[in-house]
Symmetry: C2
Subunit: 463 residues, 2 copies
């Protein structure tokens, strides 16, 4: 059965890419209020795609949180495989902001193919990978008229802003997403040609730390030396949050952290990873930073960390303005690992910055969004079906890795729904996620579709 569907996918591969391009042209930046219409347009596009594939009961589900109207979920189902398991396919159609725009070689929302890669914001994260799911379903339904398993599809538009809408939906209507397993394609392969399953993700809290000093902007000549400077205060606080050796100095920050197992650590050591290569070709800095007593994979997969993403306020134009701004803000996030809870970490962080706040400054800490860290079980038939499927496509044994990023809803699938989750992703380490010149290797787009067809077939065949 899969062979016919795989044949269909190959014959229609070019069309699939053209459709993906159309989707990539929609600037569905979920964090930007000015793009709210584009985000909805992307949802509509996905809905039409699922209908065309032959899925049933396709619809938008509106979401909202306490404070605002959310972006819609796209739902679809096909539930006629009596006696077979139900698989929940998850993806997201929203994207990160494209800034800084001047560093893109081709415009972020005008997809361009160069050297076998498609370049656009969202190419791999996650429009391209989500579209693989839609096209795998289409390939099966158009050739066989049915699916080998029952399938539910849920595609969200808030993954890049914390996924509150889908989280609320799972809490309140989890039964509508009831499944025996979930398939998520929003991760990457450890190396080119190396089939990879992701079995753990860091969680996160994304916050704003605002420092207020004087009542109004002041002239630094007249007041410098007596008026509090919010940027200097933020710098002093940030320097106390994270030491130069990468250690986070918030009291109790590391309490309760669950270490990876010995077997997992050993498996990581056998992965094809060259720290010097990584430094040179992925990061491109003179040195790597962080807790040197841990390996780079541990530092990015199983150790929590802190980053500052931007510091709005004051004067940022060309040239000079001698202002002591009344307030300044730092966008600060923490990545969390199993054993840490977002609310608890936030509370410790808030308490600490309130304690160390320099005099003359008032701090306000705001949680922008959060997601829980997770690890998933690898000992089940779904993981086996996934590794078998990828072995056929890639001709290689699958490696198990973790991801340093967060996919907030996966934690909810695992915890709220108790659904075994397979994170089978086809990105590459140099795909520039969240950065200028994001790309997706087109060969992996096609191999992804084939892998998903074979995975669903494998689950349906009872192994």
């Amino acid at each position: 059965m899969s062979e016919v569907a795989v044949g269909f996918a190959k014959e229609n591969g070019e069309r699939f890419v053209e459709e993906l391009k159309e989707l990539l042209r929609i600037p569905s930046v979920s964090t930007a209020p000015e793009h709210v219409g584009d985000v909805r347009a992307a949802a509509e596009f996905v809905k039409v795609g699922l209908e065309t594939a032959g899925m049933e009961n396709v619809r938008l589900i509106e979401t909202s949180t306490k404070t605002r109207k959310g972006h819609p979920l796209v739902y679809a189902e096909w539930l006629h495989a009596a006696g077979k398991p139900t698989v929940l396919l998850y993806g997201h159609y929203d994207v990160q902001p494209a800034e800084p725009l001047d560093e893109w070689k081709s415009p972020p929302f005008e997809p361009e193919i160069r050297d076998g890669n498609i370049y656009a914001r969202g190419a791999v994260d996650d429009k391209g990978q989500m579209w693989m799911h839609v096209k795998a379903l289409e390939s099966l339904l158009k050739t066989d008229g049915k699916l080998p398993v029952n399938v539910r599809v849920i595609v969200e538009g808030e993954e890049e802003v914390g996924g509150e809408g889908i989280a609320a939906f799972v809490r309140e209507h989890g039964d509508q997403l009831k499944a025996d397993a979930a398939l998520v394609s929003d991760t990457e392969m450890f190396a080119p040609e190396l089939p990879t399953l992701c079995v753990g993700l860091r969680g996160m809290i994304y916050t704003e730390l605002e420092a207020k000093g004087a009542a109004t902007d002041l002239h630094s000549g007249m007041y410098g030396g007596a008026a509090p400077n919010p940027f200097v205060a933020l710098a002093q606080m940030i320097a106390q949050l994270k030491r130069e050796d990468g250690h986070i100095a918030i009291p109790g920050f590391y309490d309760g952290i669950e270490e990876p197992t010995k077997a997992e650590l050993e498996a990581w050591r056998s992965l094809p990873f060259d720290e010097e290569e990584y430094r040179k070709h992925e990061v491109g800095s003179t040195e790597l930073t962080g807790e040197t007593m841990f390996s780079v994979l541990e530092r990015t997969w199983s150790r929590p960390t802190m980053d500052v993403h931007g510091m709005p306020g004051g004067f940022i134009g060309a040239g000079a303005k001698t202002v002591i701004p009344a307030k300044a803000t730092a966008k600060i996030s923490f990545r969390l690992v199993p054993g840490m809870k977002p609310e608890e970490t936030f509370a410790k962080y808030k308490k600490f910055v309130e304690e160390i706040c320099p005099k003359g400054i008032q701090v306000k800490v705001t949680m922008i969004h959060s997601g829980e860290p997770i690890v998933v079980s690898t000992d089940n038939e779904y993981v086996r079906a996934a590794t078998d499927a990828m072995a056929k496509v890639f001709g290689k044994e699958t490696v198990f890795v973790r991801g340093g990023g967060s996919i907030p809803i996966v934690g909810d699938f695992v915890r709220e729904l108790g659904t075994p989750t397979v994170m089978m992703g086809f990105g590459l380490p140099d795909d520039n996620l969240h950065a200028p010149n994001e790309k997706f290797h087109l060969a992996n787009f096609h191999r992804g579709i084939e892998s998903i067809v074979r995975f669903l077939d494998g689950v349906g065949a009872g192994r």
Copy 2:
């Protein structure tokens, strides 16, 4: 003679304000490349004003530095008072950027009069005060047909960006500005109704500290914990530059500083200054900061300090973007006091940040502009003429203060030309210089014109 001129100024006071409004409508922001045409338009406006006043040889003088074309100087003269001293009048027609625009009650370049104050960017710094000079000359020339002394006028368009153009002109053509004394109105009165001469100014260096980490922006989920974060690095460096007690930790930073004299410190102590009032109504913060072993006046007049004005880079939009930016910058300035040299302070600062630069980060330190600190002599006939003039206008004894800000060219007048300089300013402490809602108290605009008329008359009368 002055009485007639003063009468003329009073009769024409409303017209003078209407003219000032026209000048304030020109957004001559010298640091902004997009306003280069407006800056020139302001220069032309001043030129016409000086011609109308009856000054001679009025012309624009083009300036340039090694790296760019500068904004023009406006020059004028009237040299027919044989045997009398020559006074050089200095002012500037450029202004600070108006950002943040949303905090202005009326638009920064649409002057509005409320409660006896004129609100606009540049109202007091320095268009309003420079216009007092022009109108004082007009009042004398239109009534008496001549001036009581020889006068040269030089008005620059780069004071807010370091005044490199006028500095080069003074170095190369200082003879064209030859004078027995200089009058500068770009400072403020210590308190309302209290005539004030400023006898010292802090110098400054304005710099950009750029930190570069990875070769490109990175996803903080995937790379957080291993990739250097330029904002965290800047925070760590800034926290090491300035301690929480206000002490600057750069080695040798305070070397060679000249303390104010005992008499000067005593005079400062007798000024009507209430630290709590200042904190509450001028600064508006919960506490004042800085070196508490020094008084607030010392901290802002005779102690060097450091401020951060803005930190461009990364993501500063609404919401969240989980980026580790490839680079980030801090706009950092230092205020210098007598005994410090801008180049030497810059060299110590540069050496220090290069030493403390966290690993994985490359720093680049750039000097944007600088100005030397100065103190001027108070024991000369020009200072006596100024205090006499103000005593007549205000009916009060003049106080001597220093200013915390910088007027770069004043140092050059004092050092290069050896010109005794009188800094007679009419701003008020709450005039919001360099901040939203900048204003000039109109009563002080008119009293300033009268004071200048009487000052020139006093100098001409030989006392």
